[in-house]
Symmetry: D4
Subunit: 250 residues, 8 copies
């Protein structure tokens, strides 16, 4: 296959944590980047990520990819945990979703119960649910946080799971493989989709909607239509958007 | 006439409910769409409609065409009712207008009185007016909802009527035919215009104003100026806008 | 002089009230207009004015040129008074400025005292100051309204005056003639400038600032830089803006 | 009808010879014009016509609209004959076509035979065919000239005729009315089409071809797609082009 | 597979001869086309093809897709042969290549020897080689013609063959399948490539070169980068170009 | 060195206070400016600065470069103090940072203690900290003000210091010299960076982030990428931005 | 007057020879220039002039502003004569026009007769007319050269004259002052216009024509429309063009 | 220094022959390239080079970077010689310049005299000068060829030399280091400049001229202004151009 050579011997999602931040031939071209920042979407390639210490986290640096300052209703950031690192808590009434991209993390709840999560595993914490994320060695996760929108008589539960345990869902009129990481019940006010495209596959619908997305390309490469322009992506992150989009992967 | 062949044997507004979502020769061109999404208007052609279950409705899927998330002060959506479907209610203090595009619906008020509405009929529900929309078979309606702006001593009444019963109004300086579906009294804080253009007719004024429109092309095809660009439309939906516009239909 | 022929025999500001809305050779070109509508400014030429009844006014139609819906902090509209017309009042806490463009109006205050105002005259009404504007015959005024921003110990007074009674002011580094229609004391939270340019004169400073302007070209024609582009204007109205601008008149 | 008022009492093609060169409200806006000049087409509205004496003609001024200097393989110009004017001859081996737009002209051949031609009449002169065009009073014609491309055994004949004597031709797949002013035999290396569109009619094919056109709008107004952009035209002239185009008239 | 449904029961290259020239939902949108015409390339979709009688051919109509008038050094046209049609000869010193897209044609050389060619077959005629192409029924071919550039001691031979008899060639650094329809010896001054892409495959090199191409998409659909923009193609023809290009098929 | 000639004999930061507002060869080109004003950044060169009296200050004129009206969360302005001038106080709960660009100022706190500050010195005033800035002669400062975002148990202290007393900091992956003018403890909710670039040096990271910057070029010249475009700067001021940026100095 | 200060004490046309090539504040901004170079015109400001030795001239350097390499049918260059310099001759059959911008030159013909020419004087040399231009001290001239297009029975004569001796000509429909430096007889195949605009004056016609111009701004400043864009000019040179243009001076 | 790490241990000009054609992270992004191709310049980065056999050369492949097909008056190509390769001769009356980028080549003239040339050496061959270039192992050269423009009494001589033997020349008004590889006598109708820029240095003049350049970046990286846009370059090749340009290296 076209894509087989590169990823053969690497761990899963290896590229996300080892982006081509500084390819020798481009790194010292002042100002050269594939990043774009528009009114209703942003494409933020690794050379534009700005890492800094995460407030309330210990020995962890983070890069905010999506933030309400840019118009979204949630935050999305990459967190790089170092040796003996430990998370802080979300703000009051804010729910959190994490997904492990590299390494192994230890999750501990308020009762002191711990779990190990490795790459492709994830966890959901309802608002005001006490927990900690710790790591003995280097680890990378992507974090989504959002002010929870409560509905009467609906209470979201904390969750720990992994992608490979989720069933394939129907996608009428479409051809890609879809998994959802959170239940579709009304208690949850957002969802996480893992979408798998075979070479040459793409979205048939060219969506224009008011929903907001944060996207992270886990593997492969391809072409993505955002607004009026066509972007070429490999290892990159997307900002929020509510404009027309359509993906072709890989 | 230029336009006669197509619509001859079809029911009224047939094209709105049978859009060319998947013309064979375009459907598998990844990313190809006539949709545009701009700061102050959007043109959302059928291949970009994203349908999902409507919360609180039974067996009904909807596609939001206009939403406050995009900058408007009202919502506009298409609702496709399936067999034995039933509507939910608008939010508190929100008024609702519906217009039947395909099929037959049954309207029932709080007193249990029911009415049948067929294509080209419409209904207006003041805020907090209890009602249900039901359908035994497939039906399609377009729905407008808006937080009602009350004025002292003005109370809007619920209404059921049809376009063909509305009189033609004066349009000084213009040539198209105009009908208004709601009374022009101050009790109503928006209105619905049905505008009929003969071939070669168009708006003389090139409007720039602060009002917001939602438009649905019921029949025919034409050219519409939105902002700086000229769009060609046939079966399509428009988002809100408050920019210059001018239509030529069909 | 280049400009003399046209205005010789016409009353003052005649062109504002007699715009070339429908020049025979352009009126039926569907969609052709010089109007532009941008993020931080708008140029609204007469063929794009949309007149409608002014709420609370009697026999008066108005065209809103600037409105908070577009991003400004004030409204600006043209009001055309017909025979036996009469104004409504501004909203609570809103100040109003009017300037007569055509005809004669009668101003009456709460004590029943009346004054006649003709072209080039103006009046300022502090917030919540009761008054009425009446006209026996056709008259046109431009109106500015704004929610008053009070300062402790500063109270604006009602004013009636005319442009020709205002002194020329210093414009260091600039060459045009400047008059201010309102006092510059802190009690007034906006001002109105009448700027006169001789042929070939222009602003030396290319202003970029956060203030907002509404502009109305009273006489002449010229070139105005708004944002990145150069606009050619004769009888036209401007929306608000806080971008770079620079005028050359006429 | 939309278009009826203007042309009611005017002679045929009156607008071409009485263009709105100097509408009062636009004439002194420095630099304002609808003209565009692109790589493969030009739209030259009357305010951009540059008239000068035509070499070898007596008392005639001309405005070149199309010229090989711009990339075309022919010339097209408007010629305004004054009192007692007289034409010059085309260059050697150059054929000429004329069409009367205003007034009456006298055509005289080498044998001294004369004919009167009025508006809507035309004449074709093969290369090196001696002739003169004379006028006692003001008259306007449009002239096409082209280096004749000879074929063995084909000889074009001189022609005098008028549009109203030409039959309507078939236009399969199209709806407009078509007349050809020259025979379609191989002896003639170009042709002149008179195309009539009713309101709302347009070309169905969006042509992209290598042929070159010169266009003159004789009556009406409309929208014309040239290359990527949509132009609004009323009285205007077109340059050459070999790009995509599509017309909607009027 | 994504692409299987459409082409299942159709003859080879059926889509080229049955393009979606007039899909009901787009055909009467005045001016709407995917065609683009640029300085160094053109994309000419079927709705922009202009057919006319081919000079010297009998009962055949042709649409020129590429012509020296547009900057190329060769011509490419589609020829539709009707019942009892017959070809004309190329100009003196011009070579010709034909490829059968639909139907069956009969090739006859100067000695009167005839051959039947069906879809996917092709023929090459050296300059000044006498031949005729005839058809009893409807047939479609694509024709390339070019002024032959002779080299001393190199003489091209006439050829008749079919694509399926040509071997797959090496494409170092690339992944698509390549066949060449003409010998690569110096006697031939151009070549014809049949390139097969599996879903997700694409050209790795983003070519910028001085060579000129004519392209015809025989089957499938995809994305093609031409110059700065990305085009979506299904059944379409390309003009010449010598700019950067890169294809992803289908 | 390339840059040595100009600044040799001038005082530090002389260019900021002596900008080329009116270079003879450009000053009377109407509308010519390097200023740009975009959705997420602005470049405001000196010819676009609009000075006016600063409210509550005595004999001081100011030019606002950044203001919340433009989308920022802080203000930045240049203040020109004249003879015997004196500052006003910030709004309630607003912190203030000043940096001396020209002349000498006297700082006095609530206890009446005074300090002299010369060029390159700066002061920080926590919210609601009483102080005055006075000058006997002409002086220029840049001022930043921001509504303070308090954290429990963190109290910022007033500060007076100068750039040359701040240590060089680590800039991993980057090569420029960095000094911070405020402590990095959580009590301070913004910071001021003094960045020194040698010829040919630049930022390696092409930042895309949600933070907002105000920038003032103190010395030198260079190229700065803001959003999609590359700007050439010498003496200029920047507005806020949260888009991609990358600097090359000088 | 706006323009009086600068030119008061300088010799005529002083600015052309003393352009602001290196204003201190812009000279070291890499890449910053007002020059533009388009398909059908160029604006070449002094900082883009490239001087080199003129072949066959002695001690003279020249900067070509217009050249057939760019599409024009003539050359235009500035020639700076140094001490004891001497001109070369034009190519065979090439005519030459010179105009003195600074200093004094000595003209000598084949018979050895000499004349002194100072600023504002000019000379015309028919093709193959032997002459020399010499200077003892620094002098600057602008030179036009063109392959002469002969007509039977028309012979151009050599000319020496000065602008102030030429009469003002009629400019119907226009308001500027026009002088022609060469006779308008057919013997001369180009002409030189000296156009004087008072402040606020401009060309009324927005010319689109096939003629080619070379322009040099001798005094003042203003706005010039070239093609689609508006350029601000002071001391600058223009390339050729045959597109729409319109000038407003100064 | 900023730039030192990369080139430390590599042979001279190593990067030109080892371009980053296929960086793992970009190579399979379909259509992604930094190449641009414009009317008057082209930037052709290594991923767009198309290599093919060079006619008349043995075992050598070449990539044409500049060719008259693109508008230039010369050709420029990279030639990669393999083991036992051997050059062909230029066309009749065509001169040739070669420069060694990698490896060692053997030059042999008609008399059988041979010379070894290594990296940074070059040779010039006058038109119709017989010679051969041979290589035992892999070698890379850049070749310029041009139809020689003869002058009476000027005969160019063949040359073999190396850059390090050429003197530094004066560059008045500029700061970079300049060497010329060919004599400046009139016998040579083009020249080759080796320009060395230190970090932060750049061209002061922003050249607009009719000359044509071919550029090859031998070492380093930087920013180059071509026409209206700013390009970032490292290892790349340029096409011809005669537009404004300005370089900043490295
Ligand atoms: Mn979506
Ligand atoms: Mn409207
Ligand atoms: Mn202003
Ligand atoms: Mn056509
Ligand atoms: Mn290619
Ligand atoms: Mn930053
Ligand atoms: Mn002109
Ligand atoms: Mn150069």
């Amino acid at each position: 296959s076209v894509l087989s050579t590169e990823s053969e011997s690497k761990p899963l999602y290896w590229k996300v944590d080892n982006p081509t931040l500084s390819p020798r031939h481009l790194q010292d071209l002042p100002g050269f980047t594939r990043s774009v920042y528009k009114r209703d979407y942003a494409l933020i390639t690794p050379e534009s990520h700005v890492y800094g210490p995460l407030p309330d986290w210990i020995d962890t640096s983070g890069a905010y990819l999506i933030s309400p300052e840019m118009g979204s209703q949630f935050v999305m950031y990459l967190a790089k945990l170092k040796e003996n690192s430990r998370s802080g808590l979300p703000l009051h009434d804010v729910e959190r979703f994490i997904f492990v991209l590299q390494g192994v993390i230890t999750l501990t709840n308020a009762a002191g119960v711990s779990q190990l999560l490795k790459v492709d595993s994830y966890a959901y914490f309802p608002p005001n649910f006490e927990h900690s994320i710790e790591s003995d060695a280097s680890a990378t996760i992507v974090v989504f946080e959002r002010r929870y929108a409560p509905l009467p008589n609906h209470v979201p539960e904390p969750l720990v799971n992994s992608t490979d345990k989720q069933p394939l869902l129907e996608t009428p009129g479409e051809i890609f493989e879809l998994r959802k990481l959170l239940p579709t019940s009304l208690a949850y006010d957002f969802n996480i989709h893992i979408m798998d495209f075979q070479p040459g596959e793409y979205l048939n619908v060219k969506e224009v909607h008011y929903n907001q997305h944060g996207l992270l390309l886990l593997e492969g490469k391809g072409i993505y239509r955002l607004g009026d322009s066509t972007q070429f992506r490999r290892v990159m992150s997307f900002g929020w958007h509510h404009s027309s989009h359509n993906g072709m992967l890989p």
